[in-house]
Symmetry: C2
Amino acid sequence: MTTDPKALVFDAYGTLFDVHSVTRLADSLFPGRGPALSQAWRTKQLEYTWLRSLMGRYDDFNAVTADALDWALESLGLAAEPEARASLIRAYRTLAMFPEVRGALERLGGQRALAILSNGHPDMLDAVVDHNELRVFFGERVLSVHEAGVFKPDPRVYAIVTAQLGLPAEAVGFVSSNGWDAAGAKSFGFRAFWVNRGKAPVERLGSPPDAVVEDLAGLARLLAG
Amino acid sequence: MTTDPKALVFDAYGTLFDVHSVTRLADSLFPGRGPALSQAWRTKQLEYTWLRSLMGRYDDFNAVTADALDWALESLGLAAEPEARASLIRAYRTLAMFPEVRGALERLGGQRALAILSNGHPDMLDAVVDHNELRVFFGERVLSVHEAGVFKPDPRVYAIVTAQLGLPAEAVGFVSSNGWDAAGAKSFGFRAFWVNRGKAPVERLGSPPDAVVEDLAGLARLLAG
């Protein structure tokens, strides 16, 4: 890094918040099937964001998340009572954050603005940020794709950041555990930090990240020195 | 069906041709790992078509297929010699067709025009169509997304069909084993026939297919009576 980014923008689901923290609830509803349900649900949820964006048929992340759950349940041969289904969808509002998040944000803030850019509907994002008591770090800079009417990695989504923060793309560091999101951010012009929590291969999408860290503590060591 | 479609347009990979016919070659190169490699490769190949389309970074299907193979090999901890890698990529030009394809096309043609619309690069499509001796059914109506510079399910791709065949969308029946492709076609305005080879749940994308069949013989029974 030649110069320090003026703002750090974080992906939410998978980066700050553990989408698989729904596994315990899923496993209590469907004993032994929790991990498979959580995995199938998340995979389909992402697919639907990409497909609806390409089809020009945006629907908000609440709806996409519910649709993906219904598909995942059926694919696994599971039938959920309405209350069980509702409890799984509600769980997205109280996802746990990863254990190092608070300490890393404390080290990374102060010198620079911190923000979130997420596929989540604004209501879902506000709920999970407040549940984890992270508002102090982000203030009003909790940005949703919803106003663009399309999901990541469409460049119109990343443009919300430059418009809202009033910064050129090259002054923004974008942090995501989703390799494809880091690639989309890099392609847009941000500096991309990939949090490779799953020790996955780098995505071959033509725009590799500027740096790879294993978690947000690693990002704090890299940037906060 | 109130009226019979004037043209039937088929997806290629997974619908006419079995993408998992590369499994045997993959298994001979990496004993015991062929099925896992074939699965990871195909999943990532589709992801990359969606992601590159959304990012506005189209690259042709040869390149995407090679990139996805490299990712899949690394994710499974497999190292391929250059010749082994090249042989896997070449295998996409000689994929086997599903066993019922020829008989179904014989029954479905004659009364209506048959065409292909595929993510494949024109060179790849011509190769696999000729390898399976299906040219007699499709003639020059082997259409590629390549001219649109974007992959399915972007509506600009389906518009290639209406432009090339000179038909309104509602006169076209679109046939795909990929549920998301059937949904994209239906959203565009085609009549959508989903060939549910994998007995999967219907995709929740807001545009369910007009009919579901288990294979192309089932489609022939439905339409050729």
